[in-house]
Structures are given as structure tokens and as C-alpha cells.
Symmetry: C2
Subunit: 246 residues, 2 copies
DNA sequence: CGCGATTTGTGCACGCCTTCACAAGCGCCT
DNA sequence: AGGCGCTTGTGAAGGCGTGCACAAATCGCG
């Protein structure tokens, strides 16, 4: 975790926007709030109470208020939050107003689907380049983009202004790709390969392992099954839903 | 399957295995340990120290020891952990020795990829049925399975012994599918649709939102960018990688 | 203009998780 | 047999996150 004095830093308030250092848990929930807010805006809502937004995002209202209070005071007591103002604020904090350029490496089964996933474009991201090591794949067009050879990655990162790399290769190739991305200057990586990546300090890696999610569910399933067998076991204690995010 | 009293659990030790209630954080890491252990076993390692396993799984060694200590004492001081014994233990705890049957609903872009993802089969799961509401999709064969209409879901859950449902539909259809799954008796759901599902108590929902992961990375990217603009800003303090999991 | 209804923002306490540091235990070597 | 080095298992401390409960603030209405 980055070390960062933020407190008040007296004189540095220049052109640089004050950047509150939010708790990780809060950051992980902001996108959820954002999605709920977009839905509300589309439905014509002008303002929304913390209670209403919390319900739409599936969290506790006190938690939501505390999260939002970290960004500043964007609500009005007795009224609620201004939907569009809050959307702008969260999008600014998340850096989504820049429509970040994303490179995707590995257009196998999963990568192919990710390349065509429209949930990215609609939420501030543009996949601008596809790469693969397999010459069989190179040259193919996916969703309007031509797959390029992974050797061109370095040039593309600079030319296309790529700031985030997505790895959807087999695990054996993932570390090499990560090294290439880092060498090219990418400092944020989303890794779908089931393996641990080692990267230098200053590079952020988030990992999504689809099988792990199933395994966690399997554990709870196993536990529930063993509880039903217990004498007097109260079945179905209130589990509620867990969202990924560290 | 060696049974193992670990705490004290006085008299209730019947035929039902004592089920330690592990911390959620530990559960979320067990699959990671398991993957590392499989790699080690394949590489021919017989035993592994906590230090070594922790490195392979990308965690702190103290954390790993505490996690494993919750399952019981499966290590030998001065030596380390027996790889195959630990694999068996973790797989038992996670309920992976049952090769759970999984139903996948929604064979669009993402669902198609998930249906063909071999990472599931290799880690204890069998996708045994595919469903879609679109009649255009019904009847098509994907990876050896025929897509069926979502109306047959209920019967299939019973007949095929399905315990986990995966939702990869558009968000507008997700709640309906979740209701169907719950009505059919499924108590564990993995949701890829970007929306909040409401389910009765006793049903576990885990959510994976690919765009959210990118948004979190975007935040850190934004933050890093604003730090480089700071006077005397130490760029690149040690971030390290975060894994998903609640 | 004041009052009540409503909703935000937050101080506080509690519990979970992480991390350190070390005693206890095991195997090997002499 | 005894000692030494190595590794596990765990007590304790600290930090982070959550949720309650309430004071502060705003709007609308009489």
C-alpha cells in the first residue's frame, strides 16, 4: 500500500486537485454506487436519499453515507444527494472522465469475450488494442479491432496512450506479458490468468480468478450441506451477498 | 478423510464432520493456496515450508500459517507441510471432492467464453447444462453441450444435481434468472451481470463485475498521475497486488 | 418567522483481520 | 543421547472497517 501523507499539506493546494486518500473498501464500492446512480439518472430521478441509493447499490445506508462523506459534502440535509453532481464527482475521483485506453493481451476463449464485452465501453473504457502470441490469431479482426502480435505491444502502449493492460493469456505466459506491459510503461494490470504476478513497486495488479469464486461458493455449499445434517440445525441462516473486491 | 478435532467442540462429534467456521478472509485464500499446492505437487515437491507456499501464493507467511492453523495442524515443525495431505484437506474443506455440477444461464458473449473455460473442469467443477432465453441460441452446441431453453431450468436442476448457478445474462434478465434458480433449489449463485440481485436468506451470491475491476484500477491510475504532479512527490511507493474476494 | 419533518455527516464502540515476535516441537548431526 | 537449527503454531497488539445512534442542517408550511 502506498505511503502517502495527505493530511492537510498546507501550501500545496495549487492546480493539483486535492486528492483524498479513500479507504480501499470505499474505492471498491464507488463503482457500484456509480452504476446505481446511472440507473437512477436514466429513470429520471433528480435527487436520491442515502437510503434509496444504498438500496439500489445493495449496501447499508450508514456505510454509503460514510463512503460519500470521504469525497466531501455533496449531499443536502433533509433532501438527499444530487444525482448528476454525484455522478460527476465519482467519475472524476475514479478518473473515468478520461476514457482510459485499455490493451488486452491474449485473445483466447476468455479474451475473445472480453474484447466484445460492451460493459467496458459503456463505463468509460476503450479497448484500443488486442494482442496475442499465437500467429494463428494475429491479423484476425475482433469487434472491429485487428489482433496484433505481442511483440508490437511496447510501441502500441506509447502510441495509443494505453494506461491499463488486461491479461487473459494462459498462466504460463502471464508473467512474461506482465513484464512486457511494465516495461512499456503500463502501471495498472488486470490479470485473469490464474497465477501470481510479480511486478515492481508502483504497479497495481488486480486479479480475477473465475474458478476461485466458484470454489468459495462450493465451500459455503459444503458448509450448508453439513449443517442440514446437524441435529436441530437451523437451516438457512441469513447469508447475504458478497461482492468481489479486496 | 481423517477427522480432526481441533478446537474443543465438546460432545457433538457425531458422524457429521466437525466443520470449523473459518474466517471469510481465510476461505477466500484457500483456493489460492490450493492452486499453488497443485503446482508444487506437479513440480515434484513433497513438502513445502510456509515461507515457500506463501511466496507461491503471493501472501505473507504468517498469514498463511494462521490460515492453515484454522484447519488443524497439518504441518510438521522443522519440516513444513505435506503437499498432498494439505491438498486433500483443503479440497475437502472446500467441498471440491464432489465435483459440483454447475448450470450456466446466458450464453452471450461472456457466457460462451465461460462455457468453454477449461479452468473450471480442472478445478473440480463440471458445467453440465447451458441455458438461454433466446430461441436463436437454443439448440446450438457449445463445447459438447446443447443450449436449452431457460424454461427447462427447473427440471434440469433436479435431474442433473446442480448445486451452483452462474448468471451471465444481461442485467435486465438477471433477477428473473436468479429467482428461477432459487425456486429450483439452487443456493449458490455466481453473478456476472452488473446489477444487485435480491435473494432469500440462505442463498449465497457472489458477484463478479469486470468493469468494476477496471474502475478500481482507473482510480489508482488517476491517483498516481496526480501524485507525479506533486512537488517532491515520491512516485511509486510500493503497491502490491490485490486479489478479488470479499 | 418559527417549528417540525427529514436527511446528512460523524463520533464511538465493537469485531475482524493482519502482523509481529516467540515459545514449542521436530529432525538431523555429531 | 544430546544439542542445534529450522519451522510451525499462536498470543498479543495494532489497524481497518462496519454499524449504531445522534447532533447538525435544510426545506416546507402555517
Amino acid at each position: 500500500m502506498s505511503q502517502q501523507r495527505h493530511g492537510n499539506t498546507p501550501g500545496n493546494a495549487g492546480a493539483v486537485p486535492a486528492f483524498p486518500d479513500l479507504p480501499e473498501a470505499t474505492i471498491a464500492r464507488l463503482p457500484e454506487y456509480l452504476r446505481a446512480l446511472h440507473n437512477l439518472a436514466e429513470a429520471g430521478s433528480d435527487t436520491i436519499s442515502s437510503e434509496g441509493l444504498a438500496a439500489a447499490a445493495g449496501v447499508n445506508s450508514a456505510k454509503l453515507r460514510k463512503d460519500l462523506s470521504h469525497l466531501g459534502s455533496y449531499g443536502t440535509r433533509g433532501v438527499g444527494y444530487d444525482v448528476t453532481l454525484l455522478i460527476d464527482q465519482i467519475e472524476y475521483i475514479l478518473g473515468l472522465d478520461q476514457r482510459r485506453a485499455v490493451a488486452l493481451v491474449g485473445v483466447g476463449n476468455l479474451g475473445h469475450a472480453l474484447a466484445g464485452y460492451d460493459g467496458f465501453a459503456s463505463r468509460g473504457f476503450r479497448i484500443v488494442a488486442l494482442f496475442d502470441a499465437d500467429l494463428e490469431q494475429v491479423g484476425k479482426a475482433i469487434n472491429g479491432l485487428t489482433v496484433r502480435h505481442v511483440g508490437e505491444l511496447r510501441r502500441s502502449v506509447v502510441e495509443d496512450g494505453i494506461t491499463i493492460g488486461v491479461i487473459s493469456t494462459p498462466p504460463s505466459a502471464a508473467q512474461g506479458v506482465a513484464d512486457d506491459l511494465v516495461a512499456a510503461g503500463v502501471t495498472s494490470i488486470l490479470n485473469f490468468a490464474p497465477c501470481v504476478l510479480s511486478v515492481p513497486a508502483g504497479v497495481d495488479v488486480r486479479k480475477v480468478d473465475l474458478a476461485i469464486e466458484l470454489q468459495i461458493l462450493s465451500f459455503h455449499e459444503h458448509r450448508k450441506a453439513s449443517l442440514t445434517a446437524l441435529p436441530g440445525g437451523l437451516v438457512g441462516e441469513g447469508e447475504n451477498q458478497e461482492a468481489v473486491g479486496s
